[in-house]
């Protein structure tokens, strides 16, 4: 199955007493970001990296390097790589389903890497039954397996005719959103502000195909390098003006295209009536953005 692709892992998917032969294929790779060379500012030459002893400053060859764990104030316990290896359970080549959880409880913050999970010929029937059963029951499976020398938790969900297996980050690697946001004030936006914001959303609704996205950074960087070589002034971004809390309602009204003149106060009920004006205003905003940095950002009427 999945002819023409190379499997990342082959083994068994086990649920209850059923197991079927499966393979994992990388669903997403990571392409390289722009790399720079490290340069010695004084000579303009490239620099290389070597490994030295922090005390004697002598080179340490690879065979003399070992692992250590820092306990306190710079004290280390030497741990042999073999001892580390011994903590890794031997792989039984099995994705063992531990539980099924409701799809609505899947927390994507834990998502690490996605894989396509496909059956071999013998396993096709059991695989399809699991896939359709999970889909009907609206659940995802939580499985465990030794993958790439670590014990990983894998979330398995039906997708098209197949299954997508996503490795999950470990519990200690994920920061709780509750904690991250705990110091924020509890504000609940209602009434006109919410209606206006919903109206703005309405004018910007659309579809997005992530596959069509273009990264403009490299081109912008090339421009910058050119300017620097030619000794030109480097481009400057417009400074950003933050909406003052007292201006927020006016900014929302203006964004929603409701504010015809500064003196005219729109009625609340008009929030959804002016989609056309809203689009016009949005188009104007885009034109302003494209214009040169001389353009004065539109200010709200006070």
């Amino acid at each position: 199955m999945a002819s023409g692709h190379r499997a990342q892992w082959k083994g068994f998917l086990k649920f209850g007493e059923v197991s079927c032969g499966v393979a994992l294929y990388t669903a997403a790779s990571t392409s390289e970001r722009i790399t720079f060379n490290s340069i010695n500012k004084v000579t303009g030459n490239r620099v290389n990296r070597v490994f030295i002893d922090s005390e004697t400053e002598e080179r340490v060859e690879r065979e003399d390097q070992t692992k250590g764990f820092e306990i306190e104030n710079g004290q280390f316990i030497i741990i042999d790589p073999e001892e580390v290896a011994a903590t890794i359970p031997e792989s039984n080549k099995t994705l063992d389903v531990q539980a099924f959880i409701p799809s609505s409880e899947v927390d994507d913050i834990y998502f690490d890497k996605p894989y396509y999970l496909t059956p071999d010929k013998m396993g096709a029937e059991a695989f399809a039954a699991l896939r359709d059963g999970m889909r009907k029951s609206k659940v995802a499976a939580i499985a465990r397996a030794v993958l790439f020398r670590r014990m990983r938790t894998v979330l398995i969900r039906p997708q098209g005719n197949g299954l997508v297996a996503t490795t999950l980050n470990y519990d200690y690697e994920v920061r709780s959103s509750r904690k991250a946001f705990e110091e924020m004030p509890k504000l609940n936006i209602e009434g006109e502000m919410l209606a206006l914001a919903k109206h703005i959303i309405g004018t910007k609704r659309g579809e997005f195909d992530p596959a069509s996205f273009e990264d403009r950074y490299e081109a912008a960087l090339a421009e910058l390098v050119k300017a620097k070589i030619e000794g030109k002034a480097l481009p400057k971004r417009k400074s950003v003006e933050v909406s003052k809390p007292s201006d927020l309602l006016a900014a929302l009204r203006e964004s929603a295209g409701l504010m015809k003149t500064a003196s005219h106060k729109p009625k609340r009920t008009a929030a959804n009536a002016n989609a056309g004006t809203g689009r016009q205003r949005a188009a104007r905003g885009a034109a302003e953005k494209a214009a040169s940095s001389k353009a004065v950002p539109q200010r709200k009427a006070s």
């Binding site: 649920f15 490239r46 197949g162 959103s177 919903k198």
Partner: protein, 270 residues
Amino acid sequence: MALRPYWKGYLKLSLVTCPVNMTPATSESEKVRFHTLNRLTGNRVVSQYIDSVTGKPVEDGNDAKGYARGENDYVILTDEDLDAVALETVKTIDIEKFVPANSIASVYLEKPHYLMPDNSVGNEAFAVIRDAMKADKVVGMSKLVIGRRERAVILEPREEGIVLWSLRFGDEVRPEESYFEDIDNEADPDLIPLVQQLIRKKSAHWSPDMASDPIQDSLLKLISKKKKAMKPSNKTARGEPDASAKSNVVNIMDALRKSVAAELKSGKAR
């Protein structure tokens, strides 16, 4: 939870702009980390930069980023230079579009970040954007420069804040069709009720414990044992291999029935 923000900038919806900051939602800081030591001296091994031509060590602060212009010819770029790249998306998350929540395929999700107001001036504007997305069940689409690349990002309201996901690029995600095209699109209808029965027996609620790391626990045990003894020990627990044979299950129906029966017996049934 005063974590140092990883990025500071602005969140913008049309004419509404507020200062925000962002921190990664995941971190490796709790992971057991080993340092490289010199076996002969027990000292730490550190890396050092040496000039590729003169062979002399490069003093701290003298190494810089260079953009290759030609063979052995580099344009040096400072951090301020890099910050001057003429893209608004270096500092501003301008929400361009809204799409229904869950309409972006999960294989595109790359890395989550927590986005929140940077100071009290932005609290209300931030809350307006967040609550309107919540009310309309949409996520915002924007662009942001992260790690010297411009990324497509989505903004998802969550609790008091917003989760910002960077998305993978189109050429990084492989089309599922070429992997799934040979798989049966319909399962044997007699098997599905049995699978569903098994699902019910093994159903549970999500808990972060499900993503625990037993190997990290063993490593921590190994370290504390060493710390106590301060001498090497040869005894380390090898994980016992699961010997159960995994070959062809001939009759799936029987196996499913057995599974359900076993689950019933174990009394874990809900």
